[in-house]
């Protein structure tokens, strides 16, 4: 049942995770992922046919509130944490020419 993780899978996981991996990290990731998936495969021993997936344990989830601003203008304080800021906005690298 041992899982083998292909180069393509590692590339794909790297894209999904938005991580840049060097060769050594890729090798380690391949090993770690295979080991974890072998372990998780144990769940296959359980018959879950007809079982409803449970994302939350309590029935009361997603209690919505009115969309009203209550915390005032925090723009300056929020921008203080920005790596780069200009004219009251976040600066990002150019995304199109």
């Amino acid at each position: 049942m041992a899982n083998v993780i292909s180069d393509e899978t590692i590339e794909y996981v790297g894209i999904l995770s938005k991580l840049k991996l060097d060769e050594e990290e890729k090798e380690q990731a391949r090993k770690d992922l295979a080991e974890m998936l072998d372990y998780i495969d144990q769940l296959g021993e359980l018959d879950t046919a007809g079982v409803e997936p449970m994302s939350h344990v309590h029935p009361e989830v997603n209690r919505f509130r009115e969309d009203v601003v209550t915390n005032g203008d925090m723009r300056e304080r929020i921008l203080e944490n920005a790596p780069e800021e200009k004219d009251g906005a976040f600066v990002v690298p150019r995304t199109f020419e």
């Binding site: 899978t9 794909y12 996981v13 790297g14 999904l16 995770s17 938005k18 991580l19 840049k20 991996l21 990290e25 990731a29 770690d32 992922l33 080991e35 974890m36 998936l37 372990y39 998780i40 144990q42 769940l43 296959g44 359980l46 879950t48 079982v51 409803e52 997936p53 449970m54 994302s55 939350h56 344990v57 309590h58 009361e60 989830v61 997603n62 209690r63 919505f64 509130r65 915390n71 925090m74 304080r77 929020i78 203080e80 944490n81 920005a82 790596p83 780069e84 976040f90 990002v92 690298p93 150019r94 995304t95």
Partner: protein, 478 residues
């Protein structure tokens, strides 16, 4: 008795009665920090100046006759994954190494209203991912009971700070045992409440369907008092519950005569250290002698809890940690060619190895083609685990067992083998999957003097029963 040896309750009474000033309580903690912090490294951030300002402000409120409750003026510490307005909140990660929140977590806000004096922010595993506090970007924390050993994790700094008397109590967070396990390793008390009891607003999310904030304290009374102070409905957290039964200190009674306690034999199987098993069974005997009905029972699916937990927690983590991209706050890489390169380099340089490992597994189990086989399967097993607990709690008020299979491992022993570290969470992760409350408290020590933790699990909303049994047991031990 030294001031730092006192419980929050005792210290709070002295401050409320005018016998002691809030600043004097803070002096005592600061002095203790001076003695022990260099070796223990429980804190990432210490802010003495702000703490003294707060202590003086709280003292003024007390002097003005304001009724603040039992924790007013008592110095405490907050795990560094909870936002504190104007104070660094790093999650023990390079990627948040310079982040200063513009607001405080609801739990922190509630404690401030109750007159808490925050000394600083405690060390933890990076993004709460780990069981030893060794994955922190800012260095390890040592176990105050034996400094060659880990304090546990991920709330290791909070547990160590309380055990070393560098604060009187602390807040932690528990996604798979991160309050209960370090409390067990450091010989203090920790509670993970029922999911939805304490607001998660301002807690940096790891596994949102599993995360809960809770107290780490010196005794059960303090744990009840702190939990009472931080609980309650919060409209800023959509999973927050509107519970009315939050008077946890009323459960502080020495009486277990009506309680049915089950000991799951599945919690005493392979991998459990002999000394740990003996101490936990002795605790069960003592509760039995005090009048509780105690018997062995079965709890199904124990071995499936860890694979289920890591699938769900890592899936949620991969999604929650998408927000760290170097744009709005935190670390940004120095050189990059375009937006995507900037994202990737920022995250690769900003996250540590364990965090990356979990993001990758989480991304994989959520990816198309694997979603049903892994993530959905885990959610189905979660439903089965919840059902197993429901059945157990139809017969018992409490399930009693160890917190962890061993006492605190030696420093450096765990990181080389992540799988082994994950297996150490076997007795704690199920409570998070099932949303039930759990309490961890000391029940002895091994040959090396390392504390052994006793864990009591209860049905949803039954913290009162856990607190009553734990309080009774603690009185028997003292």
């Amino acid at each position: 008795m030294k001031l730092t040896e006192m419980s929050a309750w005792e210290l709070g009474q002295k401050i409320a009665g005018g016998e002691l000033k809030a600043t004097e309580a803070l002096d005592a903690c600061m002095e203790q920090i001076g003695v022990r912090e260099d070796e223990i490294h429980a804190y990432i951030t210490l802010d003495a100046e702000r703490a003294y300002e707060n202590a003086e402000a709280v003292q003024k409120r007390i002097d003005a006759g304001e009724s603040l409750g039992p924790l007013a003026g008592v110095p405490m510490a907050v795990k560094d994954n909870m936002c504190t307005e104007g104070m660094l909140t790093t999650c023990a990660s390079r990627i948040l190494g310079n982040f200063v929140p513009a607001y405080s977590a609801t739990a922190v806000e509630k404690l401030k209203e109750a007159g808490a004096v925050i000394i600083g922010k405690t060390n933890m595993d990076e993004f709460a991912m780990g069981s030893t506090t060794e994955t922190s970007y800012f260095g390890i924390t040592r176990n105050p009971r034996n400094t060659e050993h880990v304090p546990g994790g991920s709330s290791g700094g909070s547990a160590a700070a309380v055990a070393a008397e560098e604060c009187i109590y602390a807040l932690g967070s528990d996604t798979g045992g991160s309050i209960r396990q370090p409390a067990g390793y450091c010989g203090v008390v920790g509670i993970k409440p029922t999911y939805g009891t304490v607001s998660r607003y301002g807690l940096v999310a790891y596994g949102s369907s599993l995360d809960q904030i809770g107290p780490l304290t010196k005794d059960v009374r303090d744990a009840a008092a702190v939990l009472e102070a931080i609980s309650g409905y919060d409209e800023k957290d959509s999973t927050s519950l509107d519970r009315k039964d939050l008077h946890f200190t009323e459960a502080l009674r020495e009486d277990v005569k009506d309680l049915r306690i089950g000991i799951p034999s599945d919690y005493f199987g392979e991998g459990l250290d002999e000394e740990v098993g003996e101490a936990v069974r002795k605790a069960a005997e003592e509760l039995k002698a005090a009048g509780a009905k105690v018997e062995e029972c079965r709890l199904d699916l124990v071995k499936y809890a860890i694979p289920t937990y890591y699938t769900i927690a890592d899936a949620e983590a991969s999604s929650n940690l998408e927000r760290f991209d170097g744009i709005k706050y935190g670390y940004r890489t120095e050189e990059y060619t375009d937006l995507h390169d900037m994202y990737k380099k920022t995250r690769s340089e900003g996250f540590g190895a364990e965090v990356k490992r979990r993001i990758m597994l989480g991304s994989f189990v959520l990816s198309s083609g694997y979603y049903d086989a892994y993530y959905l399967k885990a959610l189905k097993v979660k439903a089965l685990i919840k059902k197993a607990f429901d059945e157990a709690f139809s017969k018992y008020d409490i399930l009693l067992g160890p917190v962890a299979p061993t006492t605190a491992p030696r420093l450096g022993e765990s990181l080389s083998d992540p799988m082994k570290m994950y297996l150490g969470d076997i007795y704690t992760v199920s409570a998070n999957l099932a949303g039930i409350p759990g309490i961890s408290l000391p029940c002895g020590a091994d040959k090396e003097g390392l504390p052994i933790g006793l864990q009591l699990l209860g049905d949803c909303f039954r913290e009162d029963v856990l607190i009553r049994a734990a309080y009774t047991y603690e009185k028997i031990r003292k």
